[in-house]
Symmetry: D2
Subunit: 330 residues, 4 copies
């Protein structure tokens, strides 16, 4: 049993905490969280409340799950690494590419593992798709098509601190595209609109976008994003290759159907990312346990954070200038 | 162009007439039908009205489509064969097995082709399934599962002349089972109820049944019939073999889907046999054209009629006695 | 945390033990099992090894999971109930209806809960189907169609102690049919063959069956069983009603597809009951925790055991005599 | 019966000729085509060979199907309209927008119907999708996603006369997008590559593209094109609205499935546009018969030709300049 601590027990924090508590290889010793009911939350995982300093000072703690608010990630990750802890950081490291790049000395090649959790890499559907591509089942990959639609927009007051559609939401798709495509992306083009909620426009953001990516070979990727699908959490990828296509489809909640005169009614998609990516989140924690056991290096980390953030900023910039944006250094 | 005549322009007759009119190898010369609007119906196919005697006397007529009421089939088929015409007879030859057996001298080995049209044999779905089985794609066939559900019951006044559920409706499934299974059926068991419409019970018939068939090797087939599905024309077959299963699924009307919170709504099944088996009916007429051209022997004929009628009578008898019925001569 | 013990850590026992260990409301204190590696297995769940007597004598133990070999179930269940423990008994209580009936005084109305775990009742697919039926979405239920095919036959040396196809395997389908149908089954008919493996016939059993059930109203159910599908664990139910149909379909392992010239290849079914019914097994343990918390009565117990065993014996008897079997007392 | 003539009996011409011959309201009197076997082709439709002048001079001819090579369309359409014939012109009117615009005096508001056949408008899938959108089933349409992939590239020697990927192939998708979206497109962006066949690049064309369209409201459409799918003719549309999504999916050839250990194999997509859009082509001819009967105005004509050609030229221009192209006059 590896002893770990967790910082932050908000929405994603609660998911990680429960998964860690159920993981037979992990023991959650400490929870750091200021909220009034933190003690009860900690107890549900068999943990107790502590301060960040206490966690850092506890030499028995091998790893820390950082799931606090985004603006605290960088500082906490640095402190944990400095204290010799392995780190599981909920994405993103930070909303500013500049800040993340400035942290390269501490985060670029840490002595203990730094795992930045991008959930798509741990989703069995996306992994299965990637395996099919890697096995050559569609020949050479030529283009990608990503549908990534949220069921419903976040509260309007979240928008100003979200980093915007591309950094907050599309970043998952940008990260996944990089993971699936064989060569680096060199150019980005995006159009975006506010069609879902005028409050989002008022907050300076967009809610609907189409983003195109291109690599040096001319391979193309298009990404469709909207903050509101009206029909559940729509998460699909299609990969088109020289000898066929492969896809990772949506998950629906069950296999029950009802047929009447009008036709069949089948099960809906999952309602949110917590249920849709439940297996991915559980696998992330298990991957962290592997790291603590010395059995794995982080599958996603600092470099992925930089890469996806750079693409997100480029996409937002493309929307602003109405033209393609070539990536620096490519 | 082969010159043909058609007798009867009721529901199925209209289907055959239109298909024959569209077939580039057939010319419908005569239609025999007493209904007031028969002349207009004939004209729509480029034909004219005639009597049966005129048709039989017209030496230029190579083939006759018999689509009149069932009780006239046997006599008309005999007369047409006697006149040297090839015959396309809508199934069944007759509702009485005894009568059909009595007609063996004339119908058993006719000099001109006698095609009794069992539509399942010409349905691309069932043919495709049979081809998969024949190609060994599921190893040795072991059991069959047939779903054959009508969308809605026929008018109650049709029931007394229908021959009953087994001869009128299940006969298609019995015929198909014989066609798909490698060895002869030796025993039949059936349970049936009246759950759909009490008027059917009052007319002495049943509307819901489960029929089991067995061959000497122990292979099994089950057939589900109901006169009313509430969800379109449900026509499916599953074949289970030693190395897998193959199935012929329902056809739906289109590929349009609508997804909302509750899940997707996809297209309904076909509403009746005329649209569901449209390709089969068209292929039947084309098969008849092949016969007239000397390019084919009837795929289904007298022997299939006897075999399926025998099974239908056995199933009805099983219901009556509440026990399995062993087939005579097996 | 409710303190429990478990007896037996074989194939199903391992599943229950892991689920209990992960359940936040249960603490597995003791494991009773004679196998050499029992101590390691116990440790994986945070438990220690004990004898049955020690378990019964430990007043702090509220419940016992009985997952030992079938022939020990009845005696262990009686002992646990006598000791005032709540019992989770892996099905079946016993392979002999007579023995189960003889245990009625102790098991019929126990003071502490007796939960006999029939997994279909806890499968989200079957529960979802039942809820649709109960909500009237298909009108009045008229007939049921059950497909229940194992991926591959058990080892031949298991057959003689299995109780035979109907008690060992079809019993799940018989139980489910009773649960889904609104009125009691009054009559059973079955045909069975040995098509999969001659060793099964040599052991006196069959491997392929079609079973029909009938209630007093004339509602019908057909069940298809085979010991070997060649295509994964095939577990489907279709319910046909007066206004439509509802079904619980197979679960496949993922949503990944590969399309090539020949068409799409999609994911296979689950390979065994452990993965196919993983959620059901987990829900069973959670249901047991509810009982220990006083929040639930067993959804399935002694009466369900009697009912399904009676049907299984009737089906086997029907095969033996080649005729329908009317249930006693109906 | 309306008497018509047809000019051109190539690949599409053969489709239209057969459909016209089968249409009960049309009589194909003349075929104009120089190929050696033209007489036999004409005879298969019950027609005879004539020159263009003979057709124009035959006052009994009400309509002409123009299916000759694209470079002859404009002149023939003008001549037919001048002779008072209704015209069915296979798309496109011409490969040059300038030439089409120059023909506005004769073609813009002709006295007899000018039907330019865009097959998507007559495909039951696309029509069904459009009807769902029009019925408000997905609320307000916000974005569109079009997949339009050819099974295999055309012969390399066709490329130089094809007009290029956008005018030859994507034009169908551009036309459909305009038909489905509520407001005019005001801006186009496209990236394109040559990934399929270097011979296509050598001929100055591309074979793979992603095109984005935008209207004044900010609604977006993305189109995916490739000359080679490796998996049949992939033709899908997804429409995302404020309350859900609707889609028109691919058609597969049949409903037969084979399941083995690896999972199910289901039927492939259609292999080419002739079988995929068979119903659309038949409906086009029927629509023409409606026009001749005075019962319909052309659903697609000159204005649609101009609109889609303008978009195709804008998309190609966007590729050339690497920037979005704003449409003139918008």
């Amino acid at each position: 049993m590896h002893r770990i601590a967790q910082i932050g027990a908000g929405r994603m924090g609660a998911v990680h905490l429960a998964n860690a508590a159920r993981n037979p290889r992990l023991e959650v010793v400490w929870l750091v969280d200021p909220r009034p009911d933190a003690q009860a939350i900690a107890a549900s995982a068999g943990a107790r409340i502590a301060s960040v300093d206490q966690v850092l000072a506890d030499a028995s703690i091998e790893g820390v799950v950082v799931a606090s608010s985004t603006d605290t990630h960088l500082a906490l990750v640095k402190a944990c690494l400095a204290a010799g802890k392995a780190v599981f950081c909920e994405k993103p490291l930070d909303l500013s590419l500049a800040s993340v790049l400035a942290a390269e000395p501490e985060l670029g090649h840490p002595k203990t593992p730094l795992f930045v959790a991008f959930n798509r890499h741990f989703d069995p559907q996306v992994r299965g798709l990637r395996a099919k591509i890697a096995a050559g089942e569609i020949g050479d990959l030529e283009t990608l098509q990503v549908i990534s639609h949220d069921p419903a927009p976040p509260p309007a007051n979240f928008i100003p601190t979200s980093g915007g559609l591309f950094k907050d939401f599309a970043i998952h798709d940008l990260d996944m595209a990089c993971w699936l495509m064989p060569d680096p992306i060199i150019e980005v083009f995006a159009w975006a609109s506010c069609l879902v909620d005028p409050a989002i426009a008022k907050a300076g953001d967009v809610d609907t976008a189409r983003t195109l990516l291109r690599d040096a070979r001319g391979r193309l990727c298009s990404i469709s994003n909207t903050r509101r699908s009206g029909c559940g959490y729509d998460q699909r990828v299609e990969a088109f290759g020289s000898t066929g296509m492969a896809s990772a489809g949506d998950l629906v909640t069950d296999s029950v159907q009802v047929w009447r005169e009008a036709g069949p009614q089948t099960a809906p998609r999952h309602k949110d990312f917590i249920s849709r990516y439940a297996k991915a989140y559980s696998a992330e924690i298990d991957h962290f346990a592997d790291m603590l056991a010395g059995a794995a290096q982080p599958e996603t980390g600092y470099a992925d954070s930089v890469r996806s953030l750079r693409l997100a900023e480029a996409a937002a910039h493309s929307v602003a200038i109405g033209a393609p944006v070539r990536l620096q250094g490519t």
